[in-house]
Each structure stands twice: as C-alpha cells, then as structure tokens.
C-alpha cells in the first residue's frame, strides 16, 4: 500500500540545515497496522507528512497504492499531532469537515459523526466550540474527524497522547475494529511501547538526527488484543523489552 524508498528530508532554516530524515526505506502492506516509535524530534511526524504528500521530499520516492505521491490523496486521512480544530466551528461541524470537502452523503456522515463522538465520550458536546473543550477532548474531536471518511490509509500522529488510559483503551479497540472491518492501512506514531505493541503488526523504531530506521520489529500476536491481559502476555513482554532496548541508548551495542 505504501512504498518508501531512500526518503530524505532536509529543512533549511535561518540557523542552519536540519537533516530530519535520511535513507528511509519502508513498505507497508495493505491492511497492515504499522506503528512508529522513536525519540522526540527523530522525524516521525516528518515521515507521516512525506507519506501524506503534504511536504514534497527533498530526496527519494514515496508511492501509495502504486501511484507516486505528488500531493495529498482523497483516500488518505491524516490525524495531526496537534488537534488543528477550526475555532469557529462547533464540535460536530469540525468532525463533519471532511464530509463537506469530500462531498460525502450529508445524512450518513452526520449519523457517523454522532456515532464517533459518542464513542469518544463526547456525546452532549456536539454544539460546543473548541475553546470550550479540555485538551484531551480537542484531541478526541480531531480523532473523530480523521475517522469520518473511512479512508484507505490512516496516518495518525500520537492520537492518544492527551488521553487517559481508559479512553485510550476504548479508542484503541475501535481502531482495531476499523482495521479488521474496513481493511484500513494505518501508520501510527506513539510514544507508548505498550500501545505500539498492542496495536501494531510491525513496530518501526527510528533513531534521531538524521532520522533513520533502526529496526522493524514484527508483533506476531493474534488479534483481538487487549492491554495487559490474555494468553500472549509473554510474547508481549518479550517484544516490549526488545523495543525498550532499541530505544534505550545505554543498550546501544545490544541493538543494531
């Protein structure tokens, strides 16, 4: 579904050049759930933007569904790291924005938006304006918006960072259901190793400056999965430990 070859991203700023990504090679299969982990500033968001076509890469190639990416695609949905809500729109109207832009069926979209908001615990807040919401509520609105259009590819940048464990678990389940039922391909950035393991078919571990892929860890645990429970607790522990090692610099040599 997604093919990335030798991707390089360089930012030139007034104060010098930042090598955000270098030599990224990655293929994501259709219906696969890939999580990206790595230290803050290692280029995760930049990688997602390159896949989405929002930012043309400085070097290398990206293709989605076989087509080279030259700009955003209608079948790819992006949930940004920041909520990016329109301050003049109510919660429900923010969620409905993709329906308006993609000209989806109005009534169906509305029903779906309300379902999603209820699922995200925002029932009763449909008419509120963004500035009347808490930080986590804003993030949930943004999440609902990215799910509205049933995209083929879903790029999610730390979608649960501002959420409590319970809301996180509920929404993780929904995400897994979506992947299963609607055969969506997901690339998902997270800082939580637990979350990465819970959700992913494969976990991509990145190293910072320049952002490179350190290793790709396969998570071969059958679905549905739930956090901290189930028969595969040992597999989970093993993979988590491995990821922990990869992310931890004192174990530098152990990795590679």
């Amino acid at each position: 579904m997604i093919d990335i070859h030798d991707l390089t991203q360089i930012f030139e700023t007034r104060t010098g050049t930042v090598h955000a990504l270098e030599g990224i090679d990655l293929t994501v299969e259709e219906n696969e759930f890939v999580t990206l982990v790595g230290r803050s500033g290692c280029g995760k968001s930049t990688l997602l933007r390159a896949i989405s076509g929002l930012v043309p890469p400085t070097g290398g190639r990206v293709a989605v569904a076989g087509d080279p990416v030259s700009g955003p695609r209608r079948d790819v949905s992006f949930m940004f790291q920041r909520p990016a809500l329109l301050p003049w729109r109510s919660v429900i109207d923010n969620v409905l924005l993709p329906a308006e832009i993609l000209k989806l069926d109005r009534r169906q979209s509305r029903v779906r938006a309300e379902e999603l908001l209820t699922l995200a615990g925002l029932a009763g807040f449909e008419k509120k304006l963004p500035h009347e919401l808490s930080g986590g509520m804003q993030q949930r609105v943004s999440l609902c918006r990215s799910l509205l259009q049933r995209p083929q590819v879903l790029l999610m940048d730390e979608p649960f960072s501002a959420l409590d464990a319970l809301t996180r678990a509920e929404l993780s389940n929904e995400l897994q259901r979506i992947v299963a039922d609607e055969s969506t391909t997901i690339v998902f950035v997270t800082h939580s190793i637990d979350e990465a393991v819970l959700l992913a078919d494969r976990v991509v571990v990145m190293t910072p400056r320049p952002g490179r892929i350190r290793e790709i860890v396969k998570v071969d645990i059958p679905r549905p999965r739930t956090l901290g429970q189930g028969a595969h607790i040992e597999d989970v522990a093993r993979i988590s430990a491995r990821l922990h090692d990869l992310l931890h610099p004192t174990n530098e040599t152990a990795a590679a």
């Binding site: 955003p72 209608r74 990016a84």
Partner: protein, 269 residues
C-alpha cells in the same frame, strides 16, 4: 483569607449583562456630551468667531431649522455610501483572494492599486464627470475608489495569516482551492476583514462627500461646498455633524454584525 468571588468567568455577551448594555449606550453618549461641552467652552472662552468655528448651539439650531432638507441630503449621501461600500466589498474580497493566492498577481497588482489609491481623488473628479455624467454613478465610483484598498489589504493579510496547521488540514483532505478558501481561510480572515471593512466604511462616507463636491446638486457634500462658499459655517457644521453620525452609525452596524457573525473570535469572547 478566602476568595469568595462569585463572578462567573463568563463573557458578558453570553449572559446578556444589563450593565454592559447600558454602558454601551451611556459611555459613548457621555463622550459626545463631553466633546460638545469642550466645543462650547472653546468657542465661548476663546471667543472663536462663528465664521471660523460656530458654537454648538448655533449648529444645532441651524440643523433643526433645516431639518427636512438636511435629512433628504443625508439620505442621498447614505445611499451613495452604502452602495459604493457594498460594491467595494464585491470587488475587493475576490481581488484579495486572488492576490493572497498568487505572489505573481500580488507583485503585478499592488503597485497599480497603490497608484490608483494615491491619486488625489478631487484632482480626477472632472474626469469622472466627463466619463459618467452628473448622476449617482461618479459618486459611487468615488466611494469604491476610496474604500476598496483597506478591504483588499486587510483581506489579503487575513487570508495569508491562516495558521499552517489549518491549511495543512484542508490540504490533507485534498480540498480544492475554493474549498480551502471558503471553509478555512475566509473564516480565519474574518476578524481582519472586519478591520478592513471598518476602515473602509469611514472612507466610504468621505468618498461620497468628495464625489458630491464636484458635480452634485444634492447630498451633504453639496451642502458643505455650498455653505463653505458662503462662509455659512453653521450650516457646514450641521452637515459635518450629520456625516459624523452616519459614520458612527455605519461603523457600529458593522461592529454588531461582527459580534453576531464571529462569536468565536478571540476579540469577541
């Protein structure tokens, strides 16, 4: 030792606050009364002759003496102002939209707009007359000429200042440019567009008056020329007073529309 403030942290707009509404009427009134008092004092104390600055009593007397006539002239000027202002919006906003999208257009159009804007309009009034006759058209054109520039400038700036977050959001949805504009940029720009409109409306009034200075036989501008030429400063000042009232009224109508339309704007919360 205790904080017992029971004042809810509520924008006064939300729970209609009677005090605020009363203040919104009383304070401007107070200001006007003070201003008129100062005006009176200045003319009395410094014994300014009435043919330079007439005192307020004289002006208000004159105003009431010529009330029906002046109201007619006010309506004429008001009509020109409002029509020209609306046309300026209809021209200015799309123009700003085009300029905001394209650096090339900006670099080509801004110098021309600036040139048009910097021409002293009184100097080209005869051209307008020759071209458009003595009807309402040249006055409306004058209004448009005077007031479209602030609209363009503010709208361009507003559209351009849309945060990249929000622009990326629509981009990620493959929004067409017109959608990006109507769904995001336009709304983001609204508070700034309103600054442009507020600027424009006061210029629009002036534009109508300048239009009437040359080639008009009605309107407050005509009254001012006529009374100015006969040193009838009391009549000129009544007309000026009415102009000020038109300006203030139109401005506050815009403010009201803004507050209605943009309750989410930081300044209106």
């Amino acid at each position: 030792m205790t904080v017992t403030a029971r004042t809810p942290v509520v924008p006064s707009r939300v729970v209609p606050n009677r005090g605020a509404a009363v203040r919104a009427v009383l304070l401007p009134l107070a200001a006007v009364v003070i201003a008129i008092g100062l005006w009176w004092a200045a003319t009395e104390i410094f014994a300014v002759p009435a043919f330079i600055v007439p005192g307020p009593q004289l002006v208000i007397e004159t105003l009431f003496e010529n009330f029906a006539f002046l109201m007619q002239q006010t309506l004429v000027t008001l009509l020109e102002t409002v029509l020209g202002f609306l046309i300026a919006i209809v021209i200015g906003v799309p123009l700003a939209m085009a300029i905001a999208r394209s650096k090339v257009l900006e670099q080509m159009l801004y110098p021309l707009l600036l040139a048009v804007n910097s021409v002293p309009k009184v100097a080209i009034a005869p051209i307008l007359l020759v071209w458009m006759g003595f009807g309402i058209t040249p006055k409306i054109v004058m209004v448009v000429l005077l007031c479209f520039f602030p609209i363009v400038l503010s709208t361009v700036s507003g559209l351009r200042s849309t945060p990249s977050d929000l622009v990326e959001l629509t981009a990620s949805l493959s929004a067409r440019p017109i959608q990006e504009f109507t769904k995001v940029r336009l709304w983001w720009a609204m508070p700034q567009i309103f600054v442009g409109l507020k600027n424009a409306i006061t210029l629009a009034v002036i534009g109508a008056v300048i239009g009437e200075f040359v080639g008009a036989s009605s309107g407050l501008g005509f009254v001012i020329v006529q009374s100015g030429a006969s040193a009838n400063m009391a009549l000129a000042f009544s007309a000026i007073l009415l102009l000020a009232i038109i300006s203030i009224a139109l401005f506050y109508i815009l403010v009201l529309i803004e507050k209605r339309l943009l309750p989410w704007a930081e300044e209106n919360r």
